[in-house]
Symmetry: C2
């Protein structure tokens, strides 16, 4: 779908245009005219014959031609009738500025649905309602009441909050920040965030896509499309309303460990979206992406005229996990030959407090050619002899001559560097108010480059016994039983290629002893009940039983004690199971997010998982690389690789387990939560065992 008519219309009708200052219909008309829009403007208002020197029409039909774009600013209740007129005269693109729809409650929602029902069959696309409008500087289009037309630039912006967009516009205009397009998406009755992001992706004027969102309309589509687009252009999003949103009560470890933010974090990670926590940070990052090349690596060189800020930058480089570049010998020698003896010719390069612009020029020109340097950060403090403006010009000049390496600047101070900062801005050199913030922007660029260089995602499909799982799942759904017991949970896992310990359920102590004799000692006893989820909490697990007597004692004690602690639980019996020793315990799990689908989890196993919270999440379906990365993202990984002379466990076997689980939950959307805990893994070449498992299902 093209949004061409929204961004570059040849004619615009404003329904509700007004000649009264202060009215939104006046503001929009004035903004359109003031921005020197070159197309035709048709004010529509049945109470005026002309507004601001433009002929005014009583209704859309009387215009006599079909405007490319219709902007509606009349009261909400009249909007449906205007939409009918739009259908009649063949309008295809409508921006509804008017508020009073979904955001005010039931009645507004009905009105909004009504509008969509009119628009859809006629092929009309809608931005809004309850929005600020659309701004496209390159086309002199300011179809909004958000503020003055900003500079042209490479940032495409979308916002779900009109008020925030207005504030952003005001700030950007004060600092001369440029945009390719700004869109206020309002209630998203029709066109949503993904439509805009896709349009900005195919827009040649947009180098970076940025926005503010409160929710995402279509989770699945968003993940898939945004991932593709991120490979093309960076997407920087503020997403609010994350914390505190009451997540639904979870019964699994995985569920309780997945916070309300986890899904969004996993989505952003998968789709390569850079999350920003303030407007300030977002524009700090956006400027770097919009105006500079991407760095080839993470090695940063700092050039400064004062020691303090240089050290602060170096600290920040280390704190944020970047590398402080080690200059080549030839660079060091060249710097030493051209800089005063007291200068520091190693990174951070200190050109000294009395450096004029030419000394900066020499240093920058030398350092930018160093093959060990990926990004150059220039720091300047305004000292007695400092030529801030000329230094800014020098930086701009070098950046234009050598655009392949990113250059960022932090000129500290205010009035003494104001002119210089203006020069930097015009020269497209991102300028930051602290070394720390400049380094953060570099970090985001490096993060994006790393994400983009990941191999193409290929999800492996394992041969499985799908029918077996279907039978168990359907049985539970038919009986409306949410929790699948341990035995059947393991049957499901076995159907997907997992190994589980030998064992079966006993209902008498003698039977338990018999099973144990067949399995061989030691054995484990576990209470079997669909109503008891965390068995060890109530004494429902006994490990390391070494002979008949111990098994029988444990059985009877469990049958005596557990019902006291869980009087309402339906107890099926006691599971007598082979004890798996010698391996390491991890947890594999899944929690299904209502919007984005299955979230896979990996972490340290056993009862410690909820305390240490050393877990990682990723959206299913998983590739082999992602499954491996989930392991690497935890501290547990180092333990699995072997510390203090211990041997490594079979890492690939765990990653395969995660992939098989990912396939299971992708193929069975009925599975809501799943834990394999512990998943016992041994040394290289051994097959891990799913010692305990729980699965819950729901009708979908």
């Amino acid at each position: 779908m093209s949004l061409e008519k929204f961004f570059n219309p040849e004619s615009i009708a404003i329904v509700g245009a007004s000649g009264k200052e202060g009215k939104v219909g006046y503001e929009i008309l004035t903004n359109l005219i003031d921005a020197e829009y070159s197309g035709k403007i048709f004010p529509v208002n049945n109470k005026a014959s002309a507004i601001k020197g433009l002929k005014c029409y009583p209704d859309l039909e009387s215009i006599g031609q079909t405007p490319d774009l219709v902007i509606i600013v009349i009261p909400a209740t009249i909007v449906p009738s205007i939409m009918q007129q739009c259908v009649k005269i063949g309008v295809k693109s409508v921006v509804i500025i008017t508020a009073g729809f979904k955001e005010v409650g039931e009645e507004g929602l009905r009105l909004e649905q009504q509008i969509v029902q009119i628009a859809k069959p006629a092929g009309i696309r809608i931005i809004g309602p309850n929005c600020l409008g659309v701004i496209v500087p390159v086309n002199n289009l300011n179809a909004s009441f958000g503020g003055d037309l900003p500079n042209q630039g490479a940032i495409g912006y979308l916002s779900q909050s009109g008020a925030l967009l207005a504030a952003i516009l005001d700030t950007a205009n004060a600092h001369g920040i440029g945009f390719s397009k700004l869109v206020s998406i309002g209630n998203k009755a029709d066109i949503n965030e993904l439509d805009i992001i896709k349009a900005l992706d195919s827009d040649p004027d947009t180098k970076v896509i940025a926005g503010y969102l409160e929710n995402i309309t279509d989770g699945d589509a968003f993940v898939n499309e945004a991932e593709k687009i991120s490979h093309d252009k960076p997407i920087l999003l503020m997403k609010s309303g994350g914390t505190g949103a009451g997540a639904k009560a979870a019964s699994s470890h995985t569920g309780s460990l997945a916070g309300s933010e986890t899904a969004y974090e996993a989505v952003f990670e998968r789709a390569g979206i850079i999350r920003c926590f303030s407007i300030k940070a977002q524009f700090d990052f956006a400027q770097a992406f919009a105006n500079q090349s991407l760095p080839a690596g993470n090695r940063v060189a700092v050039i400064t005229n004062a020691g303090g800020p240089g050290i602060m930058a170096a600290d920040a480089v280390e704190r944020h996990g970047l590398e402080f570049a080690t200059l080549t010998d030839s660079t060091v020698q060249k710097l030493a030959s051209g800089l005063p003896a007291a200068a520091n010719v190693h990174n951070p390069i200190d050109v000294l407090g009395d450096a004029l612009a030419d000394r900066y020029e020499f240093a920058i020109d030398t350092v930018i050619d160093d093959p060990n340097v990926d990004t150059v950060l220039m720091l300047l403090t305004p000292q007695a002899m400092t030529e801030a403006t000329d230094t800014a010009k020098v930086i701009t000049k070098i950046s234009q001559r050598k655009p392949q390496k990113p250059m960022l600047a932090c000129f500290l101070g205010a009035s003494k560097v104001a002119k210089a900062i203006e020069v930097l801005r015009k020269g497209l050199i991102p300028q930051y108010d602290s070394p720390e913030n400049a380094v953060l922007a570099i970090k985001m660029m490096v993060h994006y480059v790393n994400w983009r260089s990941k191999p193409k995602r290929v999800v492996k499909l394992f041969p499985v016994n799908r029918r077996k799982v279907e039978i168990i799942v359907e049985k539970h759904l038919r009986q409306a039983v949410r929790e699948i017991g341990e035995v059947e949970s393991k049957e499901i896992l076995e159907a997907y290629g997992f190994l589980t310990p030998k064992g079966s359920i006993a209902t008498t102590a003698e039977q338990a002893a018999n099973i144990a004799q067949q399995i061989g000692y030691p054995v484990v006893l576990k209470i079997a009940s669909p109503d008891i989820i965390h068995k060890s909490d109530i004494g429902g697990v006994k490990i390391g039983l070494k002979n008949i007597q111990e098994v029988m004692d444990a059985f009877d004690l469990m049958m005596y004690r557990v019902p006291k602690k869980a009087p309402d639980a339906n107890i099926v019996g006691v599971l007598v199971q082979q004890m798996c020793t010698g391996g390491k315990e991890v947890i594999l799990g899944m929690n299904r997010d209502p919007r984005f689908g299955p979230l896979m989890m990996f972490g340290m196993g056993g009862t410690m998982v909820e305390v240490l919270k050393d877990v990682s999440f990723y959206l299913a379906p998983l590739t082999a690389e992602e499954a491996k990365q989930m392991l690497v993202n935890t501290k547990t990984y180092k333990i699995l690789k072997g510390v203090r002379g211990q041997k490594s466990v079979d890492i690939d076997a765990i990653a395969e387990g995660l992939q098989r689980l990912s396939q299971l939950v992708t193929e069975f959307p009925q599975i809501q939560e799943l834990d394999i805990n512990p998943y016992v893994v041994g040394s290289q070449g051994t097959i891990p065992i799913a010692v305990d498992a729980r699965i819950s299902v729901e009708q979908v």
Copy 2:
């Protein structure tokens, strides 16, 4: 020591005053005059008779009176002779602006020492050399070349980087930020950061102390004094040069876990200092402390005229561990009665986009009285009808009437809110560029309030056998052996009240078996060698030996294998030891920081400690509360308290162990590193056992 003559001198001589623009001696004289300094100014320069209309003196003596303050700007090599003149005429306070001392190398260092040697016997105090000077707005004193005299305010600032101070001054002047005093401390030849901090503490004009430091001169004194001062006034410091400073090679777990930043973090924590990572953040925080009351608690209410920013603030409140205030019913009712129906009368309170100043006034006035609210954050986006300036006036008015509760503002935008922001500044309402940053400032205030409300520190002294430790330590120092072996390390611990497992060293398999028989099974065998620190890494530990045969086999295998892996190690024998089972393993440790002394560590024990890094540090000596807090600061704490139905271990016993250890390392400064790993703790009422220990000592 009073710095009165530096801050409020009645007369100032400038040695090196100049009439030539661009010279530092000109800049300082001009700045003094431009700031309308009311005392006498004596330019000293033997090549001029008058400068800028002031009589010029060939030398200090010819002034004919003793100036309160002498500012030196002549070349470094001449400074000693000027100092001699200062001694002669009885000057007591000198600011040396001149650079070219310690910072340029050996020769400069000698020159600097020479100056101190002249000054000290004469009781002359020096600020600098290599500094920018001193600024005191309230006294119209700008004895610096840092920039124009700033506004009066409540922030006292000190900086170890002159260039940074100049940049800060430029920024502050552009934004109208006020200061009580600004001091550039330069090379700290005499007066150091602590002297200035103390002076700012006793300065009634200073409400908050802020500064930039690259190092701390006297660690011990700094910790003790800064802690006292923090109880009086908040101290906000940027400290650079932290990361990457090559820490000395450490042999203990504790040593290797203590990064180069750990000591500074522990110092700042103990002394209640708020660490800032950028100038921007520092001034964000300083403005809140300087201009508003401290909050009584952590509950934040947000008032906004747009939903988006309100949600962003709410997210930030939660993300930073603050509480989002729940308004009382009566507040909600009052808001509902006075605000439009569509307004949100719960936190975040949304007064809607068409709110004029009066609606904000009503909302703020209502919310600030709510007993459930500790801090009020006002958000404003400039919308069509918004009265930004009047709203700012309303906020200022309410803040003056009800100063006991802190109020902060975030007016988003730029030109549309510029006037309003000016009103806020004059009304001492801190203004932030994003809701996120405003919330961060509130977090720092809450953090400070919590720190200050801690009980007075009381360090308990345990009765110990100090003589025993002296003997062992002295023996090792005499023999120049750094590592104290396991057996004697445990004797040291026993002397300080620790319990250690039974056991002794065997040199033959038969002897090992005999010892084991006496102790009782199971036993542990550990290689005994002063040269082997991490025994398990090379197979030097064997646990769970259950009979004579296993002990003898393990002994022989160890004696055969270990020398192959550590051919240079001097092997004393094998320690046969009682095996401690059933408890939980933690680590207690100490690593001595060369500047700040013993850093205590607590964490999860065993071989996992260096992988999981779930450890906490604190400066010794420890109080009972601090020892307990060290436990609470780790995730291990929850495990110790018992998860999933397990019983809690004896938490107080661990805290006591930390206190005893703290006493040991405080009383024996020769102890450089110490690990008790594992320290096995059992249930309530049991005594923990120091199963393994290592101590290293150095001559001090």
